[in-house]
């Protein structure tokens, strides 16, 4: 759906040259939520602006739905932009217009007649959960509500792609979650392809299918969110994963566990995109004559199921423990007996 080839953006000042985006290539499939994560200065903000040519690339091609954006003239580009919605960190609503008129703005630009505009705006207000607020001004809304207006506005012309520029970075955690839920909802309902940039791994974990990690204008790692979570290769990626999982200080806590719990068997369970075996612990304790003691761990939910690690202690007869371990090995949960790293 979106194909990016050899995309570069160089900013030249008198004294230096900055390669904000450096020979970047990427494929994004239709209906996917694609997240790009990076620290500030990594070039992700420039990257997303290159997708709708708010910044013109120095080099490279961007193709959306078989239309090569980078070769369009100004008039054609304006038409193409009507099919690419965008939302922003600071919402960027017109303070002089009501919620209704803000959402109607892109429709005015596209030349939609007034009666149709009103109808479409009312649909959108309902879709984003702002019923009854149509006549309010942005200044009367909370941050989360403003972003909902931003989303409704971006969806007004039924775009093929939605670009999200740090859309939740100015919101508190609870509001962030409600906006993310709305984005997932829209992605599922409308089959809309979403490209988002963020510096919060939480956002990637919660809604993205695919993730790319960006550093110094390049993508250093990319793939399924779960794979990247499980097997982060690059240092930056590991740092981002730790953002969500917490810095585990594995050796330290493991040593502590071993010193404290000397009886039975200590196991490390890996949940890797689990949908079916999430109730493993209760299953094991029901099927086998065992006491299961949960010692340490963190499980988190991603779009592809649960992911995380858990340390448990099995107390009981030796044979029973062996059979329980064999049972776990037959499921998709990975198990490690007396882990030592």
């Amino acid at each position: 759906m979106i194909s990016i080839k050899g995309l570069s953006k160089v900013f030249r000042t008198k004294h230096q040259e900055v390669r904000a985006v450096d020979d970047l290539s990427l494929q994004i499939k239709k209906g996917e939520i694609y997240g790009v994560i990076g620290y500030s200065g990594a070039g992700k903000s420039t990257f997303i602006r290159l997708l709708n040519r708010l910044e013109d690339p120095t080099d490279g091609k961007v193709t959306i739905d078989d239309q090569e954006l980078t070769s369009l003239n100004k008039g054609k580009l304006r038409e193409a932009r009507q099919e690419i919605g965008m939302i922003f960190q600071h919402f960027n609503l017109l303070w002089s217009r009501t919620v209704h008129d803000n959402i109607a703005f892109p429709l005015e630009i596209a030349g939609v007649p007034k009666s149709e505009r009103t109808k479409r705006v009312n649909e959108l207000i309902d879709l984003v959960g702002l019923s009854g607020r149509g006549n309010s001004y942005p200044s009367q809304l909370s941050g989360g509500q403003k972003q909902r207006v931003g989303i409704a506005r971006a969806l007004a012309n039924k775009p093929k792609v939605l670009l999200c520029d740090e859309a939740t970075s100015a919101l508190d955690p609870e509001t962030t979650d409600s906006i993310l839920d709305l984005l997932v909802d829209i992605n599922e309902k409308l089959g809309l392809t979403i490209v988002l940039i963020t510096h919060e791994m939480h956002v990637i974990r919660k809604i993205c299918h695919q993730v790319a990690v960006m550093e110094q204008g390049k993508i250093v790692e990319q793939g399924d969110v779960l794979d990247v979570f499980l097997y982060p290769k690059e240092k930056v990626t590991k740092k981002f994963v730790d953002q969500v999982m917490g810095d585990p200080e594995r050796e330290h806590s493991l040593q502590l566990i071993k010193d404290t719990y000397k009886t039975g068997e200590i196991l490390r369970l890996h949940f890797v995109g689990e949908n079916t075996n999430q109730a493993l612990i209760s299953e094991v304790s029901r099927k086998f004559v065992l006491d299961v003691n949960i010692l340490h761990g963190k499980i988190t939910q991603t779009q592809k199921g649960a992911y995380g690690t858990m340390f448990v202690q099995f107390l009981g007869e030796k044979e029973e423990i062996t059979r329980a371990i064999e049972y776990i090995q037959s499921t998709s949960v990975e198990v490690e007996v007396s882990p030592d790293d």
Partner: protein
């Protein structure tokens, strides 16, 4: 009562003078608003990072604005005599003061317009571009509405400067309260005339300021 405190003031003359001042002020404010808005937009749009960024155009506009702002108003009137004569057919009376008032006021307002436009949130402009706005949409539906309270405050400040200019123009024969105060008051040493003209000008200034503040506040939904 007026005759008691201001023995030398004739009511008819005073009303005529006030009307002339109001006429000059209102027409010149309207003219300044239009011309100043055009110049201000040109300054902003051709400036660095502007929609039509163009160094030469920006330099020319800025030079014109700066030159006309530098010329003292009384000299500007004298310089414009031939132009006024050509345009209006006379160099006397309230109508003849209009070209000088507008040409004197517009560059001043243009700078205020430029400042107002620079205050428009860059993010909002970017958002409008991302929706596929044309330049005209961006100007008429984003830049002007989003800067309207500042544009109104600016024209209020300019209007008050213009009221002052009308009095200066009056001193060289444009009519209005300045003319009345100078010829009927000062030159005849009837200072009660000067005094009542001052009071009326102050009242007019207050009314303009009040209306300007009120409209600006009403427009501002931030």
């Amino acid at each position: 009562m007026i005759n008691q405190f201001f023995p030398n003031v004739t009511m008819d003359d005073l009303i005529t003078a006030t009307n002339e001042t109001l006429y000059m002020t209102l027409i010149s404010v309207a003219g300044t608003f239009i011309l100043g808005l055009l110049l201000g937009l040109l300054l902003y749009l051709s400036g660095p990072g502007g929609l039509w960024h163009n160094k030469i155009l920006n330099w020319i506009t800025a030079s014109v604005v700066n030159i006309f702002r530098a010329i003292p108003f009384i000299i500007l009137i004298l310089l414009l005599f031939p132009f006024t004569d050509f345009l209006i057919g006379t160099i006397r009376g309230p109508k003849a003061a209009l070209p000088a008032l507008i040409i004197g006021g517009a560059p001043f307002y243009a700078r205020l317009v430029e400042i107002a436009l620079k205050e428009v949130d860059k993010g909002v402009i970017e958002a409008a571009k991302s929706m596929g706005s044309k330049s005209s949409t961006l100007i008429f539906k984003v830049l002007l509405p989003e800067s309207m309270p500042a544009l109104v405050s600016g024209i209020t400040v300019t209007a008050i400067a213009l009221i002052g200019y009308t009095a200066v123009a009056g001193a060289i024969g444009a009519g209005g309260l300045g003319d009345f105060a100078y010829f009927y008051g000062f030159q005849r040493s009837d200072f009660d005339v000067v005094f009542i003209c001052t009071i009326l000008i102050v009242i007019i200034v207050f009314i303009f300021q009040f209306i300007g503040d009120f409209v600006s506040r009403k427009l501002d939904k931030r």
